[in-house]
Symmetry: C2
Subunit: 334 residues, 2 copies
């Protein structure tokens, strides 16, 4: 048990929970024995799924809670429910050092606010940020901030670069992080003052232990040249949602353009295509900058997608992400 990754899981958030959460846990345990789950939820609702499942029973502890946060509840109302909810207890398990990492498929706004309320910020980081995975030509990007901070200053963007490159190294140890700031052009004179100051800090003070690749435009995010894309939470949220909407629009149009015969004939090709772009593979946004990371699974994902976010949790713990962030900070101070 000592070297197992202990994941605190909010079993009550997202569509078709708690069933999909427990199914996701089962998928993960079949792949990896070195996981242990602290499952926070209303016991009555969980029991029937666990009762005859020795794999989950032997590798988890169920902690009963009285209440849970609804998916469309306001963050304020969620906070008012206090420590009675599964989400609060899940995050609090990190505060008490009972778990290594926390995971929820519930209400994003509530998760961000409760995390900031309950957990300490890493010293030297001003604002925690929400980081996500985004496919590119050669593999995967880390993009942050996806919406935790609507307004950011230059120091925040530099912090995001440090945290994002540490996260990239944790998830993809075989590659080197290459940071770029999202902007409306690639020339130095483009953009507003906040971006220009972050650019100057990263470019001129060559003291960071990651590559800085300058500015990147929206149409090059998926080129694979940079792999850590840094932006404020307003722009990041709009960018990732626009990409999501565009992808949906195109695949729906593709479906309606193909007739049944050509669907049938192209079945294996289309399956390969779908598989490559399967959003479940990059499920899991990571709230970075707190004493321990809090991972947000997409609320609408299924058990396979939830299992992917468990795998993200495990990689982050095994790679000592927080130490990596702190070591990036030390490099800067020196």
């Amino acid at each position: 048990m000592l070297d197992k990754t202990i994941i605190a899981v909010d079993a009550m958030g997202g569509d078709r929970s708690p069933k999909k959460i427990l199914d996701g846990i089962e998928i993960s345990l079949k792949e990896n024995e070195n996981l242990f789950f602290k499952i926070f939820g209303v016991k009555d609702k969980l029991e029937k799924f666990i009762l005859n499942n020795s794999l989950i029973k032997n590798n988890s502890e169920v902690i009963n809670v009285k209440d849970f946060i609804l998916d469309h509840e306001s963050p304020l109302s969620a906070a008012k429910k206090g420590n009675s909810t599964s989400m609060w207890q899940t995050i609090n398990s990190l505060h008490n050092n009972d778990s290594h990492i926390a995971l929820s498929a519930g209400n994003t706004g509530a998760l961000l606010i409760l995390s900031k309320m309950i957990l300490d910020t890493i010293e030297g980081i001003d604002k925690p940020a929400l980081a996500g995975l985004w496919p590119n030509k050669n593999g995967m990007n880390i993009v942050l901030d996806l919406g935790a901070n609507i307004e950011c200053n230059a120091k925040n963007l530099v912090d995001f670069s440090l945290m994002g490159s540490a996260l990239y190294k944790s998830l993809f140890p075989e590659n080197d992080p290459k940071v770029a700031i999202l902007n409306v052009g690639s020339e130095e004179i483009k953009g507003h003052e906040i971006i220009k100051n972050a650019y100057k800090e990263l470019k001129i003070n060559n003291k960071y232990n990651f590559d800085f690749d300058g500015y990147i435009e929206g149409n090059h995010i998926m080129d694979g040249k940079a792999n850590v894309i840094v932006t404020d939470g307003f722009t990041g949220n709009i960018a990732i949602k626009t990409a999501e909407g565009t992808a949906n629009f195109i695949t729906k149009n593709l479906k309606s353009s193909l007739n049944k015969l050509s669907m049938l004939l192209s079945y294996s090709s289309l399956k390969k295509f779908k598989n490559k772009l399967d959003p479940r593979k990059y499920n899991g946004a990571i709230f970075l900058g707190l004493q321990s990371p809090v991972v947000k699974s997409h609320g609408s994902t299924d058990s396979v997608g939830f299992a992917h976010s468990i795998s993200v949790c495990n990689k982050i713990v095994k790679a000592n992400l927080i130490e990596k962030i702190e070591s990036n900070l030390i490099t800067v101070d020196a």
Copy 2:
């Protein structure tokens, strides 16, 4: 000639110019006799394409210029070339009321700066904005600003709503404009102060002659619920380029997933799909808010795409876009 739409065309900008420009003009003239072109370019370079083309010869005037602006030249360097360039002369033709509208496939930054230098702003509009076409489920969106103004205040966003809805009415007279502000959530409390103030102005002061639909998130831009999407130039530029990058990424992946046989078998379906999403169909960004609109064709488009942007020019002139904007402004003042 009196009721013909007179379009001033910069023949020197964009890839494969002036040939594609002249080919595009020819395509347009075959479809519509009521066009007349003032073609600004280096005569030596144009002559061989026009010499034996009576259709173009009879419906255009070629005005010789000494110089032109390179596609990757800085706006400052472009401005320094003064009135010797084809782009300057094209825009200046509006200033002199010699043409109804101006069109260029050249350097965007230069086009925005020269337009602002040469043309007057519509009284009541603080900042002109770059508007673009963006497909949605039911047809087409107008999205603005796409990058003319990196920073905007609430008044600018309200101006963009007035101008965008007037443009929508001009291009799609059979539909009603429905304005929405791009934001990170659809609830009233979301976003930063500038957005919230524009929202209040449009929502509470119910004096505008277009529907205001509140906030829209990035993943709903293509849903077709709203059709005039308003945002600052930084966010708009990132959003449209991110959509472009995502679309390219997906279609490239689709191509590489399909083997030759299934390509062949799905040929007509894929052609239908490609045709529906053909970017040439929404070629043409419109710089709005000046005494007359200046239209920017994509530099990399071909003659068919350029002909589409000529059609956009014609619709704008025929619909009296500037009058529509002014009438929206009058509604507000009243």
